[in-house]
Symmetry: C2
Subunit: 301 residues, 2 copies
């Protein structure tokens, strides 16, 4: 699982600061999370084959999280896209997009499938054999969801040496990976554990932006591999959190600690701070394994 | 009058190609014409004090001409703008913008004044003591206007030497600039022409994009100082003009020639061509004084 940060700054796009967008590459799936203005250009800069994006998740209807969506949808049309595009976002997003397509007489030539969200509890948004995606209800000035991506357990790994020694025919190797016991050439039943290794533990990724400090999310994100949590403010602006419904770096670290996640990525930085190291200084005493998001940085999860 | 090209490329924004937007600086007025995705970032790169923009003209509701508008409006709010903002554009633009402000619970803290256009003939859109602005109805796939900016004649210029020699008191100099005759210290009437020079001839700028070849615009833009005309295609793609309602470089040059303009700027280039010099090669045999638009280039008019 790799996460490419396309933008991680709050409020307005600037010359060297992109608003929120990120791309999660999960065993071949490309999930786009949020889509601030200019995201399609960032996707090009990242050399992503963005026609492969089939699912876009929009956290909330503030501009720095979705103003680039209509442009990306239009560009897909110009590029001759044929594959379905699924959009998950707050109720109202369909009206915004379709109004603009209608007035521009520019309907897409592919299926645009809206999954409008208004639930205040976690729902299963997407599932296939390798991943499931849920919304994470957050606490912001408008209806907002984070998103939780959970890999399903992969196949067991063949211990080739042991399998050969146990005289298992190659035609059974596929079956071994599914976890089944098989019979060897001598008619003897071989237990799966003897000739396979367990699969890598499934990875998970939780995206939580924008939100005030909201410990209610902890049960849902318990133990995830990586948590991206917004940290708009440093402590000196703690007093702005309540009104704006944003978090400080310290609050993000408290969520990470209490949820027992493996790694925390901080993002959604206010552009008022020039020295981002201060985020680490304030958060690290609470939770150790923290990294700062950075436009175009790629994280292995 | 100076024209800053913020973007001059057709279709989708790319790493080094911005969609249409330009800024006309006319004796202190900053008029923004079209506002493709990323325009606010281009304005920052151009170091324009963009809070000074009070009038935005949108030609039509295709994304490459207006998807950056909602972001710019939102950024003005974040920057604490107080001055009114006037938006001139096709009917529907108000609904697009207000729907997004409403769903984001993000009303502007300044007056946003929409002037929705649906006339198929030229109208006076804005006028003050130094400029008047009209729409130029064009021929495109959706309802589209170009815009014509005409400076009003300036004041006459004082011929200081002649005025002193004619024994005119300084207190009359202001009156002389308005074109009036005045009485000198000896009670003699001095004709204005004797002691002033005529003002610089008023400049004018016509923006015509997007449009098919449409000679009906010629009477309205007759003799303008500078014409910006779209030239999406080269001759090899002439066959695409009818369906897409775009022009070739040659057609733009024919309009410039027949309207007797002083200077032609070509723009709205299809990104399929890597060598833009070919536009000049095809257009120059028809009209000589041509320049190619270029993102961030500044033209003196």
């Amino acid at each position: 699982m790799t996460l490419t940060i396309l933008g991680c700054h709050a409020a307005t796009p600037k010359t060297f600061h992109n608003p929120t967008s990120q791309l999660l590459d999960l065993r071949g799936h490309l999930f786009l999370i949020d889509c601030g203005e200019g995201t399609q250009v960032s996707l090009r800069k990242s050399k992503v084959k963005f026609a492969r994006v089939k699912h876009i998740f929009i956290s909330h209807l503030h501009g720095d999280h979705y103003f680039g969506l209509i442009g990306l949808i239009s560009t897909f049309t110009l590029l001759g896209r044929e594959a379905d595009l699924n959009i998950y976002g707050p109720k109202g997003i369909k009206e915004i997009i379709t109004l603009q397509l209608k007035l521009g007489k520019a309907w897409t030539n592919y299926n645009l499938i809206f999954h409008e969200l208004d639930s205040k509890s976690p729902q299963l948004l997407f599932e296939d054999e390798i991943v499931e995606v849920q919304n994470i209800p957050l606490d912001h000035r408008v209806y907002t969801n984070g998103f939780l991506f959970r890999e399903k357990p992969g196949e067991r790994k063949l211990n080739l040496e042991a399998a050969v020694a146990a005289k298992i025919d190659n035609s059974y190797f596929r079956k071994l990976k599914t976890g089944a016991d098989v019979t060897n050439r001598e008619g003897k039943l071989i237990s799966n554990e003897r000739v396979t290794f367990p699969p890598d533990p499934p990875k998970s990724y939780a995206f939580c932006s924008d939100t005030a400090f909201y410990p209610q999310i902890i049960p849902q994100i318990k133990g995830v591999s990586t948590l991206y949590h917004e940290a708009t403010f440093l402590e000196e602006h703690f007093h702005l959190c309540e009104k704006t419904k944003h978090s400080t770096a310290k609050q993000a670290a408290m969520i990470a600690r209490d949820a027992g996640v493996s790694q925390l990525i901080l993002g959604h930085f206010s552009t008022r701070y020039s020295n981002l190291e201060r985020y680490l200084e304030e958060a690290k005493p609470i939770f150790k394994n923290i990294q700062l998001a950075e436009d175009f940085k790629v994280f292995e999860i």
